[in-house]
Every structure is written in C-alpha cells, then in structure tokens.
C-alpha cells in the first residue's frame, strides 16, 4: 500500500491504480480492487454483534423435539451433547461439544481481539495474530456439524405415529451464528494487523530525513 500498489484477491496480480484513484479493476481477472477491504473493521464488528445476539437463543432454545406416544421432549444443543455421552459415544459427544459450543464462542472472542488490537494500533505479536486469524478461518466451518446432525435425525426419524423428530426454533439461530461468524472472518482484512507498524516506520523515516 505504501508503494501505491493494489494486489488482487482474485488472482494475486499486483497493479497500479489510475492516478488519484482509490479503487480500480484488475486488468487480468476484472476483480474490483481496493487498498484494503472496504470498511473492514466496521463490517466485521457488525457481523460479530449480530452473531453474539443470535448466540444466546441458539443455546437456550431447543434445536430438536422428539415426539413419542408418551409425549414430546425438546433438546437444546447442550442437552444433545449430554444425551450423546455414553461409554461408546463419548468421542462424538466431545466433537459436538467442541464444534457447536467452543468453536463459535472462541471465534467471536478471537475476532473481537483482532478488531480491538487493530483499532488500538498495536504493533505487537503481528505474526501470532495473523496465525490466529488463519486458524479461525480454517476451523470455523466445522461448527456447521450440528446443523447437519439435526437435519438427518429429523429426516430419518419420521415413524408417525410411533416416533417422530422435528427441528426446533434454536436451529435457525444456531445456523445464523455459524454463517454470521463466517461472514465476519471474510470481512476482516489481515493486512490491517501490519499497518500500524508500517505507519510508525514511515513516521520515523520522515522525522530522520
């Protein structure tokens, strides 16, 4: 950026914008170009707040209701984890606990940390912070696992009138948390992590000149 060049997220080509322009298009692949992702921190924060709001009903409302002749029973995500816990099922139970409860909350906290450190102009632990970002990016998709668990449980257990399972209202909020945090990750521009240090360096050079 300090050289006035823009790199393309579509194909990686580095090019020079028209004089005075802040936006352009990539001559090779036609992608829209900017120096940094537009309103990156604001959009990341907006998605994070929305995700945090949805996180509450996602964990409190039932995601599944089981109807049997004896009555019906609703389970939240956490109750699903507990139900799965058995001498043979405990590894899967741990996976669901990790994917559905730990990952979404860790993702929100990690991204909040990244946004705040960038806002504060931190120049420390840059390499670790960008590694954290990449980890969040890779691990995040696995949160969807509970959505698929519920989908296939619901679609298989349709043995009316003996037993049937239907999705609960928590499922929509849970899916929203997963999608919103994925969008938050996409909106964050990791290059912002390095900008504070680069700005400091330029200022230093100007003072010495």
């Amino acid at each position: 950026m300090e050289h006035g060049l823009q790199s393309c997220h579509g194909c990686g080509l580095l090019s020079r914008p028209a004089p005075g322009a802040h936006e352009g298009r990539c001559p090779r692949c036609d992608e829209k170009l900017e120096f940094r992702k537009a309103a990156s921190l604001e959009r990341t924060m907006a998605y994070l707040i929305a995700a945090a709001v949805c996180y509450v009903p996602a964990n409190l409302l039932p995601v599944m209701t089981t109807n049997t002749a004896g009555g019906s029973e609703s389970d939240t995500i956490m109750q699903g984890v507990v139900l799965l816990w058995s001498p043979t099922g405990w590894p899967l139970s741990l996976i669901v606990l990790f994917a559905s409860i730990m990952i979404p909350s860790a993702k929100i906290v990690a991204l909040l940390y990244l946004v705040f450190t960038v806002k504060r102009g931190s120049i420390q632990n840059n390499a670790q912070r960008v590694r954290l970002y990449r980890m969040v990016e890779i691990v995040g998709r696995w949160s969807m696992v509970d959505v698929f668990v519920d989908t296939f449980t619901v679609s298989l257990i349709q043995l009316q009138p003996l037993m049937s399972v239907e999705p609960g209202p928590g499922l929509l909020f849970f899916a929203a948390v997963v999608v919103l945090t994925m969008l938050a990750v996409e909106s964050f521009d990791p290059r912002l992590i390095w900008d504070a240090a680069a700005a400091k360096e330029t200022k230093h050079e100007v003072q010495h000149a």
Partner: protein, 230 residues
C-alpha cells in the same frame, strides 16, 4: 510510454510480473521459480504464496472427472436408511433438506442445500470448465472468471462437515432403530477424499500465467514492458 485504456477504472500492470504483495501482510516481494513440489512462503507472516504442483492440470482433470461421477451417484441413490417397528425409511442429502423445509425451517433448509449440494456442484463444475479451458494455449478470459470465484465455492462447500454430522446422527439413531448405510454415503466419503486430492494437485498460478487478460490492452503493455526490460 503511457498506455491509453478504454476503461478508466482499470489498473495498470507492473513491468515486473513476478512482483507480488502478500495478501495476509502486504509485504512486497518477488516469487522465485522453484522446482515442482516446493513451495514459496512469505518471509514475514509465513503465508504460502505458491506451491509448484507437478503435472497440475492433467491430474486435476482426471480427479475432477472422477469427482463428477461420484457427485452424481451421491445425489441420486439413498444415503441412509432405518429399519424400525417393521418399517423402512430412506433419505438422501436433498431429502434431508426437504424434510427441514416441510417442518417450517425453510432458511436452514436452503443453507443445508447450499452447503451440501449446490456449492459442491459449483466447485466441481467450475474446476471442469477451468481445466477444459486450459486445453487452449492461451485460455480464454472466462477461465479467469471461474477461477476467480472458485474460492467462494470452496468456502461454502461442506461435504466433509456433513459427513461428520451424519456420523453423529447415526450414533444417536442407533439407540432406537437399525441403521442401513446407503451407497451414497460411501460415494460421499470418496468424494471428500477426491476434493482434498484436487486441492493438493491444482495450481491456480499456472492458469493465471497463461490465461487471456480481461483487459487485453493492459496485457499487451505488460509484454512490451517485459521486452524492454530484457
């Protein structure tokens, strides 16, 4: 020499085509030519900038064709079934999304369909079009269009996550009923392996270096610059 463009918002290429800025930390650097199998990493943030994959396009073509066949099988035959109380019931991936829709969860249903059926189809389709387009010496500009959007289809294609979900669902259901594994389930397992293999054989940089540019005049100017330099 100043080059005139029809489109004023189009950026001008640099004279040195091997110069890049790391997409994770913006460090300006040159990508060196490395032998097949080796990779180039950003010295500052350790992002992998390029991995030189040997025989990339031929291998990707073969793997993608196999993936297409498996995808078609996975979405036409039953995936799971149960046997309980003298009755049998089967479902497919689309059937799972359909039941959610009928139960009033339309939004989640569309999301499941998108992540497990539509995105993988787009991913396989885009890859096929890219490798077919690369049979030309200079692949046409639409190859670049599909390659540019390939990342999006990969982000939202979640077959491997779905399989883990199926495994958990089966464990739960096994308490009430006998579970029957369908052919589609095995096809999906193989598809996950193939998609991972494609990921490690496909080299986008090779395509980008050959593809015709969206802005032909800018491309000509880069060639001229390179000649002047050498």
């Amino acid at each position: 020499m100043e080059i005139q463009h029809h489109h004023t918002d189009c950026n001008r290429p640099l004279a040195d085509g091997s110069l890049v800025a790391c997409l994770d930390c913006d460090l300006l650097q040159r990508i060196p030519e490395v032998p097949p199998g080796a990779s180039v990493r950003c010295p500052r943030c350790d992002k992998e900038l390029w991995r030189h994959k040997p025989d990339s396009l031929n291998r990707t073509f073969a793997l993608t064709l196999a993936a297409l066949v498996l995808y078609l099988i996975a979405n036409t035959v039953p995936m799971l079934g149960i046997h309980a109380a003298g009755r049998e019931a089967f479902t497919t991936v689309v059937g799972g999304a359909r039941q959610l829709w009928l139960d009033g969860q339309q939004i989640v249903s569309v999301l499941v369909l998108f992540a497990a059926v539509i995105s993988p189809a787009l991913q396989i389709g885009f890859l096929l079009l890219i490798v077919i387009g690369c049979q030309w010496e200079r692949p046409p500009a639409w190859v670049g269009l599909f390659l540019r959007h390939l990342h999006f289809t990969r982000t939202w294609s979640m077959i491997e996550v779905m399989l883990l979900g199926v495994l958990v669902a089966l464990t739960k259901i096994a308490d009430y009923a006998t579970v029957i594994l369908g052919t589609a389930l095995f096809a999906l397992f193989a598809l996950v392996v193939l998609l991972a293999a494609i990921q490690s054989t496909f080299d986008p940089r090779e395509v980008w270096q050959r593809v015709r540019w969206a802005e032909p005049e800018a491309e000509i100017s880069q060639v001229e610059n390179a000649e002047v330099k050498s």
